[in-house]
Assembly symmetry: C2
Homo-oligomer: 195 residues x 2
C-alpha cells in the first residue's frame, strides 16, 4: 500500500479523496462540492469514490469527521495554553469562534444535520462530539468552582454557554456579526457575571 501513484491503482485513494474534499472546502460551501470535482481534484475517474464511500453524503461525512478532529484539536490546544479557569473558558470560546470565522465552510459541514444526523453519529464522529462536550463541561465546572459558586445547574449553564459560543460562531461565520464584536460580547455576558 502507501503512496504509490502508479497509474491504475492509487494506493491510498480514500485518504486522498478526503484531503481533496478538505481542500475544496476552503473555497466552496459543502452543498456545492460535487463528488466528481473531488474525484478530479484527486486525479481519479468520476466513479472511483464509490469503491470507498457509499455515496456523496458518505464522502462529505468523512470530510466532516476530518474537520471535526481539527476543530476539537484547536479547542484542546487553546484550553491547554491557559491556567486560570476563566481564561481557559474564554480561550475555548475564542478557539470555537476563530475556527468558524477562519473556515466557515468546514464549520458549516461539521454541524450539517443532513450529513451528521445527531443522535446516531458515525463511530468515527461520536467520540469527538462526546469529547468536545466533555471539554466544555470541564471548563465550566472548573470556572464555577474557582468562583465558589454552586454547581447545581452547571449542566444548564454549560448548555447556555455552548449556545452562546455556537451562536456567535455561526453569526460570525455567516457574516451577520463582525468578528471583533465577539470578545466584547462575551465579556459583557460572562465577565460581569456575579457582580
Amino acid at each position: 500500500m502507501s503512496r504509490s501513484a502508479s497509474g491504475y491503482h492509487h494506493g491510498d485513494l480514500r485518504r486522498a479523496l478526503v484531503a481533496a474534499g478538505v481542500t475544496l472546502l476552503d473555497e466552496q460551501p459543502p452543498g456545492r462540492i460535487s463528488l466528481r470535482e473531488v474525484a478530479r481534484e484527486a486525479g481519479v475517474s468520476h466513479a472511483a469514490p464509490y469503491h470507498h464511500f457509499g455515496d456523496r453524503g458518505d464522502l462529505l461525512k468523512a470530510v466532516g469527521d476530518e474537520c471535526m478532529r481539527d476543530f476539537l484539536d484547536r479547542q484542546e490546544s487553546a484550553v491547554a495554553a491557559e491556567n486560570d479557569p476563566a481564561a481557559r473558558l474564554v480561550a475555548l470560546g475564542e478557539a470555537y469562534v476563530a475556527y468558524a470565522a477562519d473556515r466557515p465552510h468546514a464549520f458549516a459541514l461539521i454541524f450539517d444535520p443532513e450529513l451528521c444526523p445527531p443522535g446516531d453519529a458515525s463511530p468515527e464522529r461520536a467520540p469527538l462530539i462526546a469529547r468536545n462536550e466533555e471539554l466544555l463541561a470541564e471548563c465550566v465546572v472548573a470556572w464555577l468552582e474557582g468562583r465558589g459558586e454552586a454547581l447545581t445547574d452547571a449542566a444548564s449553564l454549560a448548555a447556555a454557554l455552548w449556545g452562546t459560543v455556537h451562536g456567535l460562531a455561526g453569526l460570525v461565520s455567516e457574516g451577520h456579526l463582525a468578528r471583533d464584536q465577539v470578545m466584547p460580547a462575551l465579556q459583557a455576558l460572562v465577565g460581569d457575571r456575579g457582580r
Copy 2:
C-alpha cells in the same frame, strides 16, 4: 390579474411559486429543493419560474424573505404578549428557538449566507433584519433599565444574547440539543445574572 387559473397564463405565478417553496420547505432542507420541483408543485412548466426569478437562488431568496417575515412576526407577537421586561426578553428568546425547532428548514434558509449575503441583503429583506435587531436591542435595554443596571455595553450584551439565542436555536433545530433544555439553560444564564 388575480387568481385566474385559466390554463396558459397563471395570473399570480410569482406568489404561487413562493408559496410552493414554503410548502416544500416543510419536508426538505433548502439545499434539496429544486427549481423544477417547485414549478411542478405550482403546476407549471420547469422553465416558467425564470420569468419571475433570475435563477434558483433568487427564488429561494424570495422564499426566505417570506419565512423571515413569519419569523419576525412571531417574535413581535410573543414580545407584545408580555409586560414585564424580563418576561419580554425571555418570550423573544422562546419564540426564536420555537421557530427554529418547528421549522428547521425555514430557519436554515433564513440564515443561509449563500442566499442572503449579509451586508447587502435584498431591499425586501433588509428592513426585516433591521427591525429584528432593533426589537432585540429594545428588549435588552428595557430589561437593563428595569434592573437599574448601566447601559454602557448594552450593545455588546445584546450581541451576546443574540448569540445565545441563535446558538440554542441552531443546536435545537439541528437536533444537537433537546428543546426542553433551552429554558433551563436560559434561566441559568440570565435568571441568575446579578445575583
